[in-house]
């Protein structure tokens, strides 16, 4: 139960962080014609955040499945 609540909190936190990262004013920091690795910096930033968001989301959601059978990992988990 506590683990489920923790998961919910993480999901909401992820949404908030993602929302902030993908909006004004943080977004405006990358709104420039400059290039990174010969790619437009805004393009690189948006897709990097996107990938990161998906990875974190998958990690949060799939974690329980892996942790559930092995109860011994739970205490270290909350640290």
């Amino acid at each position: 139960m506590a683990e489920l609540k923790r998961q919910k909190e993480r999901l909401i936190a992820l949404l908030l962080v993602g929302f902030l990262a993908l909006n004004y004013p943080i977004l405006s920091l990358f709104s420039s014609t400059a290039q990174l690795f010969s790619l437009p910096v805004l393009y690189v930033y948006l897709f990097s955040i996107w990938v990161l968001f998906i990875v974190l989301l998958a990690a949060i959601l799939e974690k329980k499945e892996r942790a559930a059978p092995d109860k011994s990992t739970l205490p270290g988990d909350s640290a």
Binding site: L15, S28, S31, T33, L42, Y43, L46, L57
Partner: protein
Amino acid sequence: MLEGWVITLVSLAYLGILFAVAFYADKRADAGKSIISNPYIYTLSIAVYCTAWTFYGSVGRAATTGVGFLPIYLGPTLIAALWWILLRKIIRIAKVYRITSIADFIASRYGKSTTIAALVTFIAVIGTIPYIALQLKALSNSFNVLLYYPDINLLEQSRASAPYDTALYVTLIMAAFSILFGTRHIDITERHEGVVAAIAFESLVKLLAFSAVGIFVTFFLFDGPGDLFSWVPVYDELSRLMEVEAIPGEYTNWLSLTFLAMMAILFLPRQFQILVVENTNEDHVRKASWLFPLYLLAINLFVLPISFAGLLLFPEGGVDPDTFVLTVPIIESQELLALFVFIGGLSAVTGMIIVATIALSTLVCNDLLMPALLRIEALPQENLGGVLLGIRRGSIVAVLLLGYLYYRLIGGAYALVSIGLISFTAAAQFAPPLLAGIYWKGASRRGAISGLLAGFIVWTYTLLLPSFAKAGWISSQFVEYGPFGIELLRPQQLLGLDMFDPITHTTFWTMLVNIGFLFIVSIHDRQSPMEQIQATLFVDVFSPLKDTRLWSGTARVAELKNLVARFIGREQADRAFEGYAKMRGIQLREDMEADSNLVGFAERELSGAIGSASARIMVSSVIKGEGLSMEGVMKILDETSQVIEYSHQLEQKSQELVEATRELQEANRRLQELDRLKDDFVSTVSHELRTPLTSVRAFSEILHDNPNMDDGERQKFLAIIVKETERLTRLTNQVLDLAKIESGKAEWHIEKIDLVALIRDALGTTSHLFQQKSITLEQKIPDKSLFAMADRDRITQVVINLISNAVKFCEPEEGRVRVSLTQKNYELQVTVADNGPGVSPEEHERIFDKFHQISNRKEGKPKGTGLGLAICQRIITHHGGKIWLDSSAGAGATFSFTIPRFNEEHD
């Protein structure tokens, strides 16, 4: 340049493949081996979100706004983080209460209101029409491009001569296709496994097609992304696109599009259909939550490269950026690739149109037309399944034709994405009543209606009407100067708010009035009981609360079955009822009265076919009695709680009753015992009195009849008479004594007495008895005084009684009597032991009964009155002590009694 018949043939072949996929999936589903019941197919089916808008429109939007196409995909990505919480709850509610559409969901939450169902349906239909127009426009455009390009003259010519012909054919083909696909039969769950499988297949095709163009452009046309983007700084208009400032409305537009997309992914009718209604397992949401954003990322990866390539290849303009996906391969003479892209676009279009029309036709049928038809009772009695199918097919055609009309009206004036956003803003209107509905019990029906209505009116005024005006269908004066020249009412600068782009402007105002009305009306409203019940059921769906739909009145099983059969067919109804009977382990006979569980079951089955509001009306039509009035429900609820209370009380009462009965029986038993004892007593006393009286009388008669009797003889007879009368007196005294003690009328003189002195006196009094029978007396009496509070005469009476009893039962010469007095903690114990015949254990209790006399003795005649020990026991008990006997036959008897010791400190 491709021949028209080739394109048509390939398109039809592709649609044929779709049918095959759907057919296969349906067959597998019927065999119980669903191919769609896994998170991957579920994810791909959700990608029906990516329509022609994504496939063609994104590139077009990127060509004018740079990254401005992205919020539409970032919004769903962000909200996907909450799917596991939010979407799962919606799915659970829909599954538990057999909800089959978004209108059904919202109506059901607000007390199964047919008004809300109709309102939501209306908004959904009106809101979806621009979206369908977008698909028709994209498809007919792509067909024309493929047919005539690169001969721009021919393209222009075809536009000029028969501008909308292609679109009309496309519309008609799509209508036929959707009807064949989505409305083959009425399913009680409204789930379409075949359709979902086909949609998933299409999602795969459109992703592959789009990626193919992307890869071709990036890696074959250019030398990788680095090469492609190295051209950006060369052109000012390209590098300008790499800033957010390229988007009209900039960051506010970005924010409002993100918000709209967050809502649209959940609340567009077709998304609701796929996400909620077609979901086979809640747990699939877990994987879909991150796989779907991954799909979005993949399909958007090449948007900017294709768009920039298009801009670089057609620097002078003249080509609609919305067609870059097609024109870029064509200009490079990649005809097969172009054909594949066209098929990808066709996938995107058909996917959207199939699901949207199925969802809308369900809405129109279940939530708009059925309730109306039911109210006016204009339905045939039999074979309603046919009527349902007819209504659905009709609504599919109607919706598509409306889409076509809208396209003809404004199609030329807007880019694809701008048309789509009109629909998104409409779908967002469902968010407040739905979200508030599943988390806030206080949200009321009137609140939801007023919020929806206000939001819809503002949407129509600020977005839909201006789109008509822009197309020249109504005067553009209205947009520029406001109605009747009232500047404050200008639809896209309402109340003078002119800092936003039109979409942000509409989003702001509609959400403000929608949420505002919902909350303000709700908090001033009183919910009906039905609303309260539904609100609780929805908000607390995860807590173990049972369905409380209550029906009063009765119906027969056959009537219910017939009703269900009218909508879903006889065979399906039979199967459903059999399944129900098996599940509950009962036998259903046709003539049985249906209990409320079965009625609820029938209602849920019907809900699947015709929506919850209609199902309620239908079921109430066969329920005899009042069907279901809300007062009835509340009364039943009240009564139920009262009955529970009563039965609780009853249980308590019956418990008490059992207890009382037991006590009464006990009392009765004691009474009977007492009665018997009284009878015994009277007869015993009479008997005891008669014996001495008889001898007194006999001897008196002898004396009377023989006056000449010699003195010795006379003296002997007189002695007997005296002795017998003494015995009579003693007996009478004892009877009186006992009666006095038992009735509580005896007088007690309680004082401080020395028990040692008392026992010595008693032994002195009885010493002649010992001498007479030469019995040995042993004394174990302390020297110092031991005091007790007692009645001296009564205790003396007890001691003497015990001593004389002991002497009485001892054999002369060898008899031994031992009298002892010991001191215990709070009491003094007197023991009188003899070595007489003893008393058998079974007589230990009864020996203290009245008139009980030891029977098996050598002499036939009893030696006492049988009252002595009874009196002793009562005296001792009165003093708060106890008296008992330790003995066994042949081993002598030991009588002991205790009385409380006198407490020195007290004095």
